[in-house]
Symmetry: C2
């Protein structure tokens, strides 16, 4: 099962909003083949493992998630497993969708296949925290990322911010950009930093680029608008304030997609609209206003705060979060399920609402 | 020599402003005895090692610092070593005082003793970073300690600060209080937190308690004034503003010692005055104003910034440092020679002006 989990990880960034799944076929203590779900819409892990094997009869199939039993983009895996005369099926965890959970297992058992469930279940759930959340709550998994000085700032008073964290920490951010379906920033971050928000590591795909810009203050002067050949840049804006001419120009000339909302809709409503584009997970990269909103609405699942041993010592520098006013330490936000990452002389506080870390 | 260094550490907190020194006597690959400098004014490590041995003739003496060659509070160690018919003397590092450095070695060599120098020299220097600084610069070794939230605050807007860091981090602070001769805080910290600044760990001694209170705003209502049976509380204040009546009351009724300064004296002048009380090292525990002053005057040798995974998110909360206004990231204070300490889910950035960590 460990090998199956490692196989699953090879799909990082390419299968969303499908789950990461890995499979291993074993007979007489020998591995016959391995397989993983490689790309959204492509064959499932079980199919790949079975087609990679020369024989399958009497074999044991290890798979990290309950095999599907329905026709979707591909035919049901259970049928293929039964046809392949596999003797035993070891499954890490059930399908999280309550409508289908257990059905695949029932089909396998009905066909006389021995089924074992729950091997390395925790690891398999951690592997697909994003998928499980998206299936259950129908809003994207939200992961906050900030790089700060020791005194909690993301930029100097005049918005200089390059670079606070070191290259090792920034490499980790690249991994996050490859792992999550989308990256979200506020309009001020676009204006101050003019980021591309692409994945610079070769072999990786670009995330969807989401700009939270309720007053539509950005225009075609920025990289994120200009470099949109993959048509993955979205602007999220309030209907009321929208400059119609600019809207049409960005949509027509730069292929920007718009997600609009009205005054009576909140951040959660916006996330629901984002999820309708099959964006199952978002890396929120700031700035201050955006991070503060996600804290205010308690709408994050986890995050990583990276700290460099630098000090600005300036009350007018830009804090990574603001707009709260706790009167005692016990009313501070307490981050839970902490994992501490070391990046040479920078550190990262990785935190989660629920137990278990993402496999990034 | 490793054993000698471990011996030396047993003197932690009791020998200042003397150095930590350990010694081991060896003959035919067997340890005859060990010794360390136990208490300020007491016998030196070499004397203890020699008096703990039944025979000394033909032995090798390992000692972490060059043996003294002059009459101070005790007779010169070189004399005793020569008298004891020791054959060989292995020394980790020379005496840092340029007036006597090398003299002890010369006396030993003149008496026909083989002398080897420089074994584990780096470790021996780290052991006595405080002593070396004090001897060379005649001002105390300054170590800054702050406990902050992830957003760089030491207290909420209304000065609630208990507790930001966890118990493991606070245990480390106890170790620092035992290691350094003095602890320094600003008057505001006394007023807001009413700390005792004593060492709570049994077997440890209390540090000198120094209050930087230029306007003499504290009075006899605070623990640090009331609990002064050891007469180790000092107030550092500006002559000009001093309330004479309060001054006399604190001095007479509470045995508070005063260190005064005038408008034309700076922080370094104050440190010189403190050093005249044989206070060789100071743990600066804040608050914000005091920490900022030491940064402004660039008068610290090292420190530890402890961070808890808590967030206040309030621009009006109390920052650990302020009054600077860098315009770009490259003009931030960069902390050097970082060592990262883990305290469960809290972390500490230990930093030093020069290479090498304190042995705390």
């Amino acid at each position: 099962m460990k090998i199956a989990i490692e196989e699953a990880k090879k799909g990082f960034g390419f299968v969303n909003p499908n789950p990461l799944v890995g499979a291993v076929l074993v007979k007489n203590d020998e591995i016959l083949s391995t397989g993983y779900h490689q790309i959204f819409g492509g064959p499932h892990a079980e199919v790949n493992a079975i087609s990679n094997a020369t024989i399958t009869e009497g074999a044991t199939l290890y798979v990290t998630l309950e095999p599907c039993s329905h026709y979707g983009k591909t035919p049901p895996c259970t049928e293929l497993i039964i046809k392949s005369n596999i003797k035993r099926c070891v499954i890490a965890t059930l399908d999280p969708n309550p409508l289908v959970s257990g059905r695949g297992i029932k089909q396998l058992k009905d066909a006389g296949i021995e089924v074992i469930i729950g091997i390395l279940e925790k690891e398999a759930i951690n592997l697909n925290k994003v998928f499980f959340k998206f299936i259950k709550e129908k809003i994207p998994y939200i992961f906050l990322k900030v790089g700060i000085t020791l005194d909690g700032k993301i930029a100097t008073r005049n918005y200089s911010s390059q670079w606070i964290t070191n290259s090792l920490a920034r490499e980790k951010v690249e991994k996050y950009r490859n792992f999550f379906s989308g990256v979200l920033v506020g309009a001020n971050t676009v204006i101050q930093d003019n980021p591309s928000l692409t994945c610079k590591t070769s072999g990786n795909r670009n995330p969807y680029r989401l700009i939270l810009d309720k007053d539509l203050i950005i225009n075609e002067d920025y990289k994120i608008i200009q470099n949109n050949s993959d048509k993955k840049t979205f602007i999220i804006t309030n209907k009321k304030n929208m400059d119609k001419e600019l809207f049409q120009k960005l949509e027509k000339d730069f292929f920007i997609k718009f997600i609009t909302f009205s005054d009576d809709e909140n951040l959660k409503d916006i996330l629901k609209k984002i999820s309708s584009y099959n964006i199952d997970s978002i890396l929120v990269e700031g700035g201050s206003g955006v991070i503060s909103s996600f804290f205010k609405e308690n709408l994050f699942d986890g995050g990583e705060i990276m700290i460099a041993p630098k000090i600005l010592g300036d009350n007018s520098a830009i804090p990574f979060i603001s707009d709260f006013s706790p009167l005692n330490i016990n009313s501070a936000f307490n981050l839970d399920n902490i994992k501490i990452n070391l990046y040479d002389n920078n550190i990262g506080f990785e935190f989660y609402k629920e137990e278990g870390c993402l496999p990034v």
